[in-house]
Amino acid sequence: MVKGSQGVKSVQGAKNVQRTKRVQAAKKEAQTGDAVTVERREALAGRVFSAAGVTVTPLPPAERVSLRAPEDSVAALSRALGVTLPAKPKTSAAKAGRLAFWLGPDEWMVIDEGGKDPLADCARVKALHSAVGISHRNVAIAVTGPACEATVSAGCPQDLSLAVFPVGAVSRTVLGKAEIVLYRAAEDSFRIECWRSFSDYVFTFLSEAARDAAA
Amino acid sequence: MKKYSVFAIAREAMRGHKGWEAQWRSPEPKKEYDVIIVGAGGHGLGTAYYLAKEHGITNIAVLEKGWLGGGNTGRNTTIIRSNYLYDESAGIYDHALKLWDGLSQDLNYNVMYSPRGVMMLAHNIHDVQVFKRHIHANRLNGVDNEWLTPEQAKAYCPPLNIAAHARYPVMGAALQRRGGTARHDAVAWGYARAASARGVDIIQNCEVTGIKRAANGAVTGVETSKGFIGAKKVGVVASGHSSVLMNMAGVRMPLESYPLQALVSEPVKPVVPCVVMSNTVHAYISQSDKGELVIGAGTDQYISYSQTGGLHILEHTLDAICEMFPIFTRMKMLRSWGGIVDVTPDRSPILAKTPVKGLYVNCGWGTGGFKATPGSADVFAHTIARDEPHKINAPFTLERFRTGRLIDEAAAAAVAH
């Protein structure tokens, strides 16, 4: 166990040094083959919306895993991922560029923003689990600024006050007519994850809402 | 029954309207009747009326928990049409439509049946396929229903938005010209008046609390808040409460009761000349004689007898209305309300004898029972009087849920691909 966790640490350390921008990550991935490489086209590339007190911006691509596992496997998976999978509803854990969201009693979303591969980390775990790569399924949008709560509240029916939805809180929920995962990254910042195909709807909705929050 | 006419009005106008008689009697219940109908909505009152008129049975009580016409009859958006796909459905709804077309004269009560046309919008290719299937089937069944291009649809209903860039553009429409609306209260009141005149006792504020059966299982009468009332034949016509009543006789039903909401706008001068329905965006709209836009919403997702529903249901409906009619965002919702609709697994009604001798049931009309009122009442009266179904309602049995012989209009239309 000790060995395992050290191993994970050293891997993290090594990769932290070579934390790269997303384009480079894509290139690196592509370079492993010999054939032609193609560029990555993000769904919300170039979009940004600013209003008084709030900005809506797409976040860079990240590695994502939908992780499912029984309680018995959580410790092993946490070790392999280098972040303790949270057990408490509506909570998250963050460590070294890696986020683990509690989404259900046996479901987590693991996000790696450091260009490392959490799916590969899971693959090394023998304990029972299901890890499925969903890096491209989701698009992340940041809603940042003092009016972020008012903006998200335009379409999300949950109580988003700091007392009820504190920093680090995360929940799958709805925004207007779309499903999202909502994560409070800071007092004045939310990260919203949604599926790629309707990310335009979510972004447009947030932009309209931001305009109203500022009005 | 004193006849209603323009002359009667003129006569009464001269004497301050003091000569009108009560539209229906309000008697105390007798000890026993030949037939008891539970539920004084349009279907129940109509059943009593046709029992008296067509079958000569006049010793009838119609028992009503609240006030007559106060259930779904007085709460619905009054759309009338018969352009259903299956022969069975087209049969019963078109039978109703034919009766609508003379009902005011038959009852001597203006039910304001207004065949202004019901237009159902197609928003995608799947809709087009489904509607065309209906149109062809209707034509061969002798039921009018025609295809309109988007431009023709707009000509028929000028405020309709047919812009190609709409989120769900209009690709065409199915129009049933004989479809339309009627005045819901007048239907209940007209049947009540005509039935009462033929000797039917309408007992309001009389809640049925039990259905009594003899040792051989046959019905002997009902326990009510006004005491026991005997009858060898009991017809349950209680919409949302059908499960509750049938349970009293030990019959478990394939029904679930959901809240269904509707709303009207403030009255404005004529702007929507027909009924417009859209299954894809989930909304329907017409304009009442008074000028109110009458808008039907969807059901809430859970079983409820509360006659209320969630605001988000109205939101979804008005989203769709304003998508079809972008000119209406400045219009105002004046009133919203809820009913309780009983829904069967195949969304078709049950009009049938039951496993209990002398007990008959007419239920499961879901969100669309108003349009069937005269037809349903007529064949249900036949079923009770003859103790066998009319050929029109013969397919609408309880047994079909055992055999699988469903009449599933929704399944035939709603499966997307």
């Binding site: 054939a35 029972l128 989701n138 335009d200 | 008689e21 009560y109 207004s114 405020p159 004689d289 972008p326």
Partner: protein, 998 residues
Amino acid sequence: MADSFRISGAGRFSHAKTARFTFDDKPYSGIEGDTLASALLANGVHLVGRSFKYHRPRGILSAGAEEPNALVGIHRDAARKTPNVRATVQELYDGLTAVSQNRWPSLSFDVGAVNDVASPFFSAGFYYKTFMWPKAAWKSLYEPKIREAAGLGVSPDQPDPDHYSARFAHCEVLVLGGGAAGLAAALAAAESGVRVILVDEQAELGGALRFESAARIEGQDGWTWAQGIAARLKAMPNVRVLTRTTAFGYYAQNFVGLTERVTDHLSSPGMDQPRERLWQVRARRVVLATGAIERHMVFADNDRPGIMLASAARTYLNHYGVAVGRNVGVYTANDSAYAAALDLKKAGVNVAAIVDLRDNPSGDLIDQTRAAGIEIHGGRAVVSVGGKLRISSMTVQPRTGGKNQRTIPVDALLMSAGWTPSVHLFSQSRGKVAFNEQVKRFLPGTYAQDCISIGGCNGTDELSTCMDEAYAAGLKAAKDAGGKTAKAAKPKVEADEVWSRGMLGAAPGAEAGTTVKAFVDFQNDVTAKDIRQAVHEGMRSIEHVKRFTTNGMATDQGKTSNMHGLAIAADELSRAIPEVGLTTFRAPYTPVTFGSIVGHARGSLFDPTRRTAMHDWAERNGAAFEDVGQWKRAWYFPRAGEDMHAAVNRECVTVRKTAGLFDASTLGKIEVVGPDAAAFMELLYTNPWQKLDPGRCRYGLMLREDGFIYDDGVVGRLAADRFHVTTTTGGAARVMNHMEDYLQTEFPHLKVWLTSTSEQWAVIAVQGPKSRDIIAPLVEGIDISDAAMPHMSVREGKICGVPTRLFRMSFSGERGFEVNVPADYGETVWEALWAEGQKHGACAYGTEAMHILRAEKGYIIVGQDTDGTVTVNDAGIDWAIGRKKTDFVGIRGMKRPDLVAPGRKQLVGLKTKDPKVVLEEGAQIVADPNQPVPMTMIGHVTSSYWSENCGRSIALALVAGGRDRMGETLHVPMPDRTIEVEVTGTVFFDEKGEHLNG
């Protein structure tokens, strides 16, 4: 003439800031802070509208949301025309344009007023009794005429350029109503530290303190105190104060809908401001402080312009500085009208007389009035009034009758029959009201939710009692919702206004037996006489009375009329009021715009649009799109000069000749992972899965428990414990839900998990004889030879340097691959494939060609060739059922008697006798075309196309006993002709399936 009724020194707004406006094109001037009503009154204008039925001239009754008469159209511009706006609520802004409604040709001369003369014919419910002959005339004549006459304002006729917004909010204490009680409750709650939202429909907080000039609180006059508290509350971080905001609906579990009017009072609203904002508030506790509404007196011609509620006249004076007349009369059964008379008198307006129904009115207020020199006629009634477009006199006589009449000239008449507590929201919360015999009011009785009523809406009349009650309620609500104890001291009331109760029903002179028009419901023209007639005609339930007369169904929702109507009906029935019952209070409290409820959900935000990763490429390349659920799918790719038919023909031929690229990304994808994955698949699909080797694929068929086809799709086994399942486009979400349902609740013992990967993978179908040649240069790490990768297999590797799940499969009948790549690479991989494809003459094809190609092969589309009533056997795909299986979803349902009965409709092919004729999808099929209508229909066409590859039309159909009818001639009757068809098998092209490896 301008501003001639403005009293200098009265009112709370500076006279310096003027606002110009027009009413029916005539220019006027008011001041900022006015409502349209106060500005009109300041200009001496009382006539503002016409009633619904009789087109009677109408003035301004109230100074608030209960207004039934003064409804106007507000026209900001051509696209911003709002009908039925209450002049008493509309705030004045510079440049406002108002028009009167329901009149022609003009407000003062309205032809429709002939209805008033003919009114004896238009009694309650008259339309139920006539217009029945001749039958056809209802539709052609009567109804159109009725409709023309009905309606009030005119609907907008252009799309609304304004936008609307929405917000969810949460608080511990929601206070509805910002009068003295609401302010005190909000203060108490706010001081406890909990989140408080305070809502009021007016522009300013203060409620009845707007007109209650005698109130003194904390050493200040009531209004000043209220503004101080309002400012204090607004400054607190835990308080949100929403003015110009109406709580319109009280829903389950303390969920309250509010609509905030953001710009309707502004002269030039900012572009970013929404016109209105919907607030949906979830509150732990709700404090109802909605006040009370004054009732009018029900007497003959009580609707003449110039007759108004006493509190309204007092509001116009004390708040707006406007006198409603120069010589006013008062008709009351209640003390509060005296206060109005006193205020007017003090402001220099002559009060001609107070007519009080009570024999010996007494008390301080009456003494003061008398001392001020105002004539009081106790025990008397107003039995008629002079003037049509404006009241000119009132005729007074003893309430007990007699000839002792006296006519007093007046130019305005204030009336008060007492106050009705606003229990609307309480009632909407499903609380039960109880009738208090002593005060003749319905008051909150049994509560259904966590709320409390205080002040006027709770029947509490005295300000000091209100304050005590309110403060205690605010504290308790906060405490119950988790707050601390408040620090602030309870506001102290030093001077009160105390009113006695008043009366319900018709006043003397309008009692039973009279024929005068004494209005109960002004807007709907319902008189006391109409209500009696309804009772007389057998309407015993108040709901029947309401519906028969339309009392209380106008846009004011019966705020002033309901109690009077009830009392008159009860009187006529000789029953007590509670026995007759109260009609249900329904949301909304006041009418709410559709826009407010819709909020952001317009245009592109009406419903999410889903686009694939290759959408932009398709758009750039001229694709036409079709909507499939929320998805936009490329339908076909017309080239210059091509119509749809030509484009589709070309696409179909090209795919079979060389190859085509098709965007299949919208198909649902589910990754089924775990040691019991195969066991789970066995239960959810009809097919066997245990023996499917990793790397191989199988067509999967899913049933509902009732045995009908639910969904289908190709499933690839990636590993022993991992399946890549595909579903139909429309089925993706419900199949996932269906699978989760069984997994979580019926088969929770299985160790398997489901993850939606629909959007992880962009899917490019490369179909056609050249498909392998096209992908070959781009694929690495996968041997794609037939030997290594046969039809229905799946491999993982790379394409264009990015990871792929490569399926060898075909929905066209040609050799084919489906290239799955991570979605962000979808478009660039497509472009790479496109470039390769160009070398071979390949095309891009859309859903239409896809449909034709699969129909040529007889492949079904679930949802088109099946419709939720089709069994496996009906569809002719029994081979998809694992014969040895003992359980799967649908195994029992599919064996029910009717599902295995002979004569069911079966899927067959149809060939028209004339190969050029293409059947219409949905067309019905008969055996005997010469039978009369209604015909016996034995089936219908499910799919039908022109097949360029077959050189003829082809069709699939569900036909009763179809598989026993091979070669039979059937008929498709169309409106203009009958088409002969031959029943065939379902495969029209390459029956042997040689193209799969060709």
